[in-house]
Amino acid sequence: MTRIPYRRPEEMTERARELTTERGNLNVYRTLANAEKVYTGWMLAGRDALTSPVLPRRLRELIVLRAAYLMDCAYELGQHNDIARTAGVSGDEIKAITSDSDWTTAGFGPVELAVLQLTTELVTTRGVAPPVLDQVHEALGAEATVEVLMVISRYAGLALMLNALEVDLDETARLPTLPQG
């Protein structure tokens, strides 16, 4: 059970309420809204990440699932198991990403493999060998590489909050796909 009470929409500022509604009123948001002085900024950072067209949705979901698995975050895994499927990730691929090493032989292309390697090394060791980063940088360019790193950053950090507060997975509600900005 979620360790702190959810904020009700009527307790939020109008801007916070709009951002929460737009993202499906999920338990994660209603929980983090307790930090009312910093919640809106955190939501705006997330909104930019979710609406940026730079990374294909499929690639972003691969990163999120891999980070969620490595951070042992049941909430992120629960949400993104379903979201990833809507972005073209198959059930077998999800199974492979959410295992220790099956993803290395699951038939991902070279760019996806390089991004998964980067995510794995960074989340587990806090650093990454230069050739691993270089491979992603050469394939995707600087803008997308920084966005890849920012996605890892956000979901690794969010996993800490979700785990610390033991936020319950929503029964059926899932993060809606926001239109790209």
Binding site: R3, I4, P5, T31, L32, N34, A35, E36, K37, V38, Y39, T40, G41, W42, L44, A45, G46, R47, D48, A49, T51, S52, P53, V54, M71, D72, C73, L118, L122, V123, R126, G127, V128, P130, L133, D134, H137, A142, E143, A144, T145, V146, E147, L149, M150, I152, S153, R154, Y155, A156, G157, L158, A159, L160, M161, N163, A164, L165, G181
Partner: protein, 177 residues
């Protein structure tokens, strides 16, 4: 030498240029400015974290320096050890936060020590045990505890970006809180 080229802040859109200047024109901004579609939202998050009155500047630096140490981020440590000194942390306290001194003997208040304990357990195990959570909640309450987690989350994640890029610590420029 940063493994990803740094963007020229002078060439950024006006709001970003102004924000970066107000916050000290750091290399970390040059790095993230490579991704202009997510930089704006990130700056709004940083602004709220530093404008919030929930924690003192000193408490915020206690939290950030501890995260930076546990995430092994030379860049975060480079910036925030300097910032921490300007808001009154002593060398003995900083030594304790970065693992070369004794946390019990450093003279932290019980509230500061409670924050350090949350950061240490969370960064080390990725969760909080029942007793740890109950103790932290009793000290901070729901709002401040969640805000503390937001700070940890931000710097824990940012350390990964900085370490991956092997970003050079700024020679003289300092973050302007």
């Amino acid at each position: 030498m940063s493994r990803i080229p740094l963007a020229n802040l002078e060439q950024q859109p006006e709001p970003i240029r102004q924000w970066a200047a107000r916050r000290g024109n750091l290399n970390v901004f040059r790095l993230i400015a490579n991704a202009p579609k997510v930089f704006g939202g990130w700056t709004e998050m940083v602004d709220e974290l530093f404008d919030s009155p929930t924690f003192s500047a000193r408490m915020r630096e206690v939290i950030i320096v501890r995260v930076a140490h546990l995430q092994e981020s030379p860049y975060e440590l480079g910036q925030h050890l300097a910032l921490a000194r300007t808001v009154g942390l002593t060398e003995q306290e900083l030594d304790a936060l970065v693992g070369t001194g004794d946390l019990d003997a450093a003279g932290f208040s019980s509230t500061e020590r409670a924050a350090v304990d949350v950061v240490t357990e969370l960064c080390g195990t990725h969760r909080l045990g029942d007793d740890s959570f109950a103790a932290a909640r009793a000290v901070f309450g729901d709002e401040a505890l969640t805000e503390l987690l937001m700070i940890v989350s931000c710097y824990y994640g940012l350390a990964l970006v900085l370490n991956a890029a092997d970003l050079d610590v700024d020679v003289a420029a300092r973050f302007q809180p």
